[in-house]
């Protein structure tokens, strides 16, 4: 009681500030060290912002803007505010390279993030040493990026914060091995991503379950608007299960048409590595067949952590929409940059690269470590089955299968994938 009687107005304020800090309301603002770096720190983000897949870029942009707002409210990076600029990647290699050069040479970017297309990620990755900047890829999933560019060619400027195609081709097979089916077929994109995932899926599943057969495949060109002839071709081979890495609007169209062709009545399992992306969940809505297996690069209800819940709520408050996985990865990329720079205490690229290597990043998708050997973020994304829950405006995943990331991530020295 004696202390209370001596409480002054100033003392009370001071105590409140500490109490607030203790509640976690402003601790980061207080903790942000002053580093006297350039102001502002500029981050160039390129993503697909036009055409039928423009929705993807919107989701990525929104995640990055949310992170920017939060980081700046906490005093930026080491006291310097950050500024994020966006350019349309158009999924074209020449455009991607031009964007990267523009960001660095004309706009003065300190970091590059983004990139949806694997081909663009590889091309931009190749020029990062000459641009002398760090690139953190937030979507393009080719394993060639971390295995070849970083691990084999030693391009140290390249990082990736989103899961690689291991999620699509290896984790999927580890889940699929328990299904009571032997005959698989695929309808997948006719480029790098679709081909590699199918190859990894076959190779992993064959090793786990030697009596499986792969009876049919149909690869659809980018921009396919009708999958009917792909479906009729593949179904004629009599598969018991379908694996499909179609994504975005093409996944929506393919699944709708497969439903009309009664594919889900004639087969016992359907696996869609990109099927739990928010755009697919929203696009199919009530039409999404119950029980279809789906995954993504992050799923908004996993993990059930305070950090994830806070992210989803903040995203919904700002954008009136649930986050897609590219929202989480671009958000995580900015926080990874913040953490690495504050650890390196400088913007000097060699020091920031060293800080990023092995960095543990706490992110909405859960704990994550950036592997030193190939600069690949290692974190777990679950697989699950589509179910309809009246609590959400879109279908969600039930029956989650969580395979720890270190079990399905390929490891150095990355032997060739046999299929």
């Amino acid at each position: 009681m004696s202390t209370r009687s001596r409480t002054t107005r100033r003392g009370f304020l001071k105590a409140s500030a500490f109490a607030l800090a203790g509640l976690g309301i402003a601790p980061r603002a207080l903790a942000a060290p002053k580093l006297n770096l350039k102001k502002p720190i500029k981050i160039g983000c390129q993503t697909i912002l036009s055409g039928p897949l423009g929705g993807y870029g919107e989701f990525m942009r929104k995640g990055a803007l949310l992170a920017m707002e939060e980081i700046n409210a906490q005093g930026g990076i080491g006291g310097s505010p950050i500024e994020v600029n966006f350019r349309d990647e158009e999924l074209k290699v020449d455009v991607g390279v031009k964007n990267a050069r523009y960001f660095v040479d004309d706009w003065g970017a300190d970091f590059l993030i983004g990139i949806d297309s694997s081909a663009v990620a590889l091309a931009v990755g190749e020029i990062m040493p000459s641009l002398n900047r760090i690139l953190i890829v937030t979507h393009g999933a080719t394993e060639k990026y971390n295995e070849d560019l970083v691990y084999k060619k030693k391009i140290r400027q390249c990082f990736r914060i989103s899961v690689p195609v291991y999620q699509d081709g290896i984790a999927s097979a580890m889940v699929a091995k328990d299904f009571p089916v032997k005959k698989w077929a695929t309808i997948s994109p006719d480029y790098e991503y679709g081909k590699t995932s199918w190859k990894m899926f076959r190779s992993t599943l064959k090793a786990l379950k030697p009596d499986v057969e792969f009876v049919g495949e149909s690869f659809a060109k980018f921009g396919t608007v009708d999958f009917s002839s792909h479906i009729s071709k593949v179904m004629a081979a009599g598969p018991e299960a379908i694996f499909s890495t179609e994504w975005g609007g093409e996944a929506v169209t393919m699944i709708k048409q497969a439903k009309l062709f009664k594919v889900f009545d004639q087969t016992k399992a359907f696996m869609s590595p990109m099927g739990a992306a928010m755009d697919v969940l929203q696009g199919l809505g009530p039409d999404y067949p119950d029980g279809a297996w789906a995954s993504g690069r992050y799923y908004f209800l996993y993990p059930e952590s305070a950090e994830n819940r806070r992210f989803v709520e903040a995203f919904r408050k700002k954008w009136n929409s649930y986050p897609s996985y590219v929202s989480e990865t671009s958000y995580a990329a900015l926080y990874a940059i913040k953490k690495a720079v504050e650890k390196a205490k400088t913007l000097d690229i060699d020091h920031v690269i060293e800080a990023l290597e092995g960095l543990e990043v706490s992110r909405p998708a859960g704990p994550c470590v950036i592997r030193k050997e190939d600069h690949q973020a290692v974190y777990t994304v679950p697989w699950g089955r589509i179910r309809h829950d009246p609590k959400y405006p879109m279908p969600i995943l039930g029956d989650l299968r969580v395979i720890p990331a270190d079990q399905y991530y390929r490891k150095p020295p990355f032997p060739p994938v046999e299929a």
Binding site: P52, V225, S228, S229, K233, V252, K256, Q257
Partner: protein
Amino acid sequence: MLLFQGLVGLTEAMYLWLVAAGLSLIFGVMRVLNFAHGSLYMLGAYFSYAVLRAAGGNFWIALLVGPLLVAAVGWLLEFGFLRRVYRIDEAFQLLLTFSFVLIFDDLVKLVFGPVYQSPPTPKELSGAVFVAGSILPAYHLFILGVGAAVGVGLWLLLERTRFGLIVRATAADREMARALGVRSSRLFTWVFIFGAWLAGLGGALSIPVRAISPGMGELIIIEAFVVVVLGGLGSLRGAFLGAVVIGLLHAYGLLYLPVFELALAYVVMAAVLIVRPRGFFGVREA
């Protein structure tokens, strides 16, 4: 199996046919290559979707009203803009119509958002039938029916009505038609409105089975151009045949030449253009 794959290819051809028909009609009569025609297909999808939601999910009302709204946009386009560029170089017409592709893409993104939308397939048509031992969706049968009906309807309209006579006369010789008292400006407006309606119909028919998104028009316009060039610029018979050829090439290409399927349509187009530069039914330019 073989027969069935062809049938599936034909259903894909019907969407192409609806878009290519309007494109070809507009070119035949007005000599305008309407790059924004794919956007009219997209607007058909978005308008019908909006009507469908307003009408409590009734697909048939959407199918009726959506394309009419696109026809109204067609009127606005012709009356407000295209009319002003008939007399100048074709490059400007392309530029103008291309600018509308970008404008419409951004407008639908602003109004409807960038996310994919797709209403459920109407109950009446969500079943399936056995054809040649395989399962064909009822909706695909319906599309085949609509495509054939539009073909017959267009033939009747052009060959059996006074409007059709005027359209054919103007397409054959614009100056002569004008000298004979055809008010070509009014005709142009009606032809453009009609072409827009056809594209809108294609878009409206697509919504239960294809994802609606900004930019969906660009995905179909290139193939529609191939169809029109293949069939002969300005020829409706040609557009129909061209669409069927492309649809079948796609379906059978997947079976027999999957590696080459992507290029197949273009190779065939190039071959046809070398052997027969005006396409299947094109009229030799005077």
